[in-house]
């Protein structure tokens, strides 16, 4: 078997860099630990450059595929890691111990996700998913003296392990039915079978359930609000984007590659989940007072929108999902960055505390509004383009009801997103001291803003970059 290690260079580079971070951590004095964040950012940026410039192909007998699809998701993982780390510097310094390990674990989790998006068989996929997830269990409980963080870690771990077991059981059944773990071979085997049996349906339900846990799609979302609220906010930001994107990458790899011929069976399942996610996420968000919980429910709803893209098992579907996740990455991490910046000063995540933010920091307030509008899907923000693509994928297949539902629930989302804007702009708080934003955070915010607006206004370059992604499937 020929092994071409150069295809793995982004993953291997980042892995080595993570170990470098752990090593440098030993020799860094406690007050200089922030430099590790910058070291990590450098590594992530370099990895992104290597990813873009490294060549494509497959190795390890098809277990590892470096293709445009994987590359697109790698950029999303790396982008969210960069933004997360950049926004975390002050927060970590103020609230967390073991700073070096914090950044190292984020890098290792990213490595896991990058292996995941490149995996060509179920074993590699499962193992790299666990690499990404176990790092996140630890990160969720990282604020050890904080009760909420501990509770978040516990809930995430128990439900995560249970979902992992369900996923595993589903994979074992799929393996039994097809006799192989390689995604291509499963597709071949399934297309030869005249009908699919009931066990196959149980296995896809279990696989969907296991991966939906990562996505936080209803009814596998229950961990999401609690963990988002309890985990350190940078971890929440990372969880809300990178972890979801990882779940999506796995879902697309499995369903669009191996199970494409049986889409009649699983599209209704995903639609049911999507509809529930849109309704529950948007409706329950209305009653939240903690901004992290609100964003948790909003992220549940966002997954509902993204799943709409799965209806059309087509090139448009892959492109639109990647585009939306990209838009979602900038907007959602951006929103969490504002939350972090505000928490660093005020120590509060209560929406009421945001009253008068427009006067305390116009920059934070307007950034928040831009991110929220992108999440609602208002032009010219990126979210609008993304939503438009997703919905046109559904229209293409004649699923009008889900588009109507998506649009209606978007209106509800407007209500709770705008209630944040209302607090910031039309209320006055007790405290009107200016909120200072550190330079690193400001740069990261500007990047997220630029991403949100540029994708919305000038989409074509992004589209042409990701248009090759669907060639891995069709």
């Amino acid at each position: 078997m020929q092994i071409e290690l150069s295809l793995l260079s982004p993953q291997l580079f980042l892995l080595l860099w993570a170990i470098l971070v752990f090593v440098v951590d030993f020799f860094t004095a406690e007050r200089n630990k922030a430099s590790l964040a910058y070291l990590s950012i450098i590594g992530l940026v370099l990895t992104a450059i290597i990813s873009i410039s490294s060549k494509q192909g497959e190795t390890f007998g098809g277990s590892f595929r470096a293709d445009t699809f994987g590359l697109s998701f790698n950029i999303i993982f790396l982008g969210s890691a960069i933004l997360t780390v950049a926004s975390a510097v002050d927060y970590v310094k103020a609230h967390l111990k073991h700073q070096g390990e914090f950044y190292g674990l984020i890098l290792l989790s990213t490595v896991g996700m990058m292996f995941l998006s490149a995996s060509g068989d179920l074993l590699t996929l499962y193992v790299s998913l666990e690499l990404a997830t176990i790092s996140l269990f630890v990160l969720a409980a990282y604020m050890k003296s904080d009760l909420k963080s501990t509770e978040a870690g516990l809930k995430y771990l128990i439900l995560g392990a249970a979902s992992s077991a369900i996923l595993l059981y589903g994979i074992s059944l799929l393996y039994g039915i097809s006799g192989t773990l390689v995604l291509d071979a499963i597709a071949l085997k399934l297309s030869q079978m005249p009908t699919v049996g009931p066990l196959f349906i149980l296995s896809i339900v279990m696989i969907i359930a296991g991966l939906s846990f990562k996505l936080a799609a209803v009814p596998f979302h229950m961990w999401c609000p609690d963990v988002y609220e309890g985990a350190p906010t940078p971890v929440t930001a990372y969880l809300s984007v990178a972890s979801k994107a990882a779940g999506l990458a796995a879902l697309i790899r499995i369903f669009f590659k191996s199970l494409a011929s049986t889409s009649m069976q699983w599209v209704p399942l995903l639609m049911a989940i999507s509809a529930m996610a849109m309704i529950l996420g948007n409706v329950v968000a209305v009653r939240q007072h903690n901004i992290k919980r609100l964003l948790a429910y909003s992220s549940i709803a966002q997954i509902g929108y993204i799943l709409v893209g799965f209806i059309a098992v087509s090139e448009l579907a892959v492109t639109s999902i990647i585009l939306y996740v990209l838009a979602y990455m900038f907007a959602n991490i951006g929103a969490f960055m504002v939350v972090i910046a505000f928490y660093n000063v005020s120590g509060s995540d209560d929406i009421m505390a945001y009253a008068g933010l427009s006067k305390r920091s116009p920059f934070l307030a307007i950034s928040m509004v831009v991110f929220l509008l992108s999440l609602v899907g208002i032009p010219p923000m990126a979210g609008f383009i993304g939503k438009f693509y997703l919905f046109s994928a559904a229209i293409e297949k004649g699923y009008y009801w889900i588009v109507v539902l998506g649009v209606l629930t978007s209106v509800i989302s407007l209500y709770y997103y705008m209630s944040i804007a209302y607090q910031m702009y039309f209320k006055t708080g007790d405290d009107d001291s200016p909120v200072r934003v550190s330079p690193t955070m400001a740069v990261a915010l500007v990047v997220a803003l630029a991403g949100t607006l540029l994708i919305g206004v000038y989409t074509q370059p992004v589209l042409s970059a990701i248009s090759g992604a669907s060639s891995a499937f069709f």
Binding site: I166, V205, V284, L316, P379, I385, V411
Partner: protein
Amino acid sequence: MIKYSYIIAFLPLLSYVLIVFFFSKREKTASGIAITAVVSSFVLSLIALFETLADHGPHIFEYEWIVIPGLKLPLSIFFDPLTAVMLMVVTIVSSCVHIYSLGYMHGDPRFSRFYAYLSLFTFSMLGLVLSGSFFVTFIFWELVGLTSYLLIGFWFEKKVASDAGKKAFITTKIGDLGFLAGLLVLYWAAGTLNYSEVYHQIEENQIPAIILTAAGILIFCGAIGKSAQFPLHVWLPDAMEGPTPVSALIHAATMVAAGVYLTARIMSIIVVSHTAAMTIAYIGAITAFMAASIGLVQNDIKRVLAYSTVSQLGYMIMALGVSGYTAGTFHLMTHAFFKALLFLGAGSVIHAAHTNDIQQMGGLAKKMPITSKTFFIASLSIAGIFPLSGFWSKDEIFASIYHEGHYFLLALAVLVAGMTAFYMFRLCFLTFTGEARDYHVYEHAHESPKTMTYPLIFLAFLSIFAGWVGMPWLEHGYSSFVYFEHPHHAAANYVLMIVGTIAALSGIFLAYQMYYKRAIDPVKMGARFKPVYTFIYNKWYFDELYMGTVIKFAYWFMEVLYRFDQGVIDWFVNFVGRFGMFNSRVWQTFDVYVVDGAVNGAGFMTRWFAGGLRKIQTGAVQNYAFVIFLGVVLLMLFKMI
């Protein structure tokens, strides 16, 4: 110029960026940049207009924007005579408002930001007009909504203002949902959202009529929201809490006109689908009448103008609904000028009097000669008095309704014209003439600075002459420039002209008697004037009866019995007053309980539902696990059974 017409839109955007990033602290520079940008846009639009006069087009330019397999969305410009006219309207009114705001907003702590928002708004509006596809139109449409939200809520310290901003945003958003759904339907059927391609397919009968009807009505929902048509009109009167120049810009000339513009853009659907056409026409008619009747009894100067705007927009929509493409867009243009003038004049009055209540004004003409004269000119124009602008466009509307044979709508239109004249002159007389009713207000009143009065004079000029381009005797007038499919050049219908003028004059005369001469006062109702006015009132009476619905008839009948012994005049004056009050109360009740109720009710239901759903989140991790497995089992059952 047409080829580079995007520059027209981008100049205000450039101004916005410059102000926000570089000149937010320097007020003079900021306003200078904004005014320069919008005036340059106006000059460029003028050049483009002349080019269009030479070659009607449509000129289409495409710029690649989003292209992937299965979906192509170019950024395109669709430049036809209507575009040229809209560009003129937007840039002229916007320029006036920019200049006027120098005086009106003087000393406001967020002066630069106001100019930044004005620029952004102008950019969005120009983009909306220039765009060559429904998709891009929708994007600018939303941007217009967003910036108008910022402008209405500009004085966000006032709770009413920020609430009004929200109400405007959310109410129009409801209409936008329909718009978006319509676009999806259209895209699904036609495979494109470009104006030219969609029109082409409709002409070739490639799209089934039923789908066109659905798409047309859904897209029109967007116009209902933005142009404040029944039943989504509720936001516009509230939006008067914004600064008055904003009202002039947004609620007179541009944003609310966007709905009319959009309706004109779907004219090819209207001519194919009778259902869609009649829906549009009757919604316009209902709006026109309802808003006019409410306008009769309002005392806030800006609210009268707001209801008047709603009513006039209904007029335009009604005209478009009966395929009066030329008429609707013509009235859109003339209305933009005189209504902007009215709002700016009202702003001038408020600036001087520091109150919005016309009952506290009176006699201001002596103190504010320019404002009062221009206000009278605009009122004459909106009332449709020969030979001012409003006369020609209103006549064109009558003619097109008459041409299509909708006599009921025609009668309604004439009635509304009379009502319009009445409430406008009621406003004029109460504000500018007679004795000062509040000396405190009167003493402090003064004429506004030149930055405010010059735009008034300029707009007064336009209010008189802009309509002359549409005189029916002109060989190459408006109707041979902006038309649908082929020029529709109707001969002058003198009967209609006279009817319209009589309606207007009757309204003015009634107002004159009631509010200037105080001849008819509900309190001092005497028999003195009985013989003079019976005739006039009886004519009105027939109009009303002709219009009447069952409720009105019942009300009239009750009134007859109740007022039997009080004489005809007394009875009739009361009838008119009561009817107006009753009518407006009915509509206001409708607003408060039905429309607002529906909006609030939806919110309440959501919150209640959310409260219930939220309780699933018990906090106990094993309950969560239970939900997960319940989900797994249910999904399995869902697929297995």
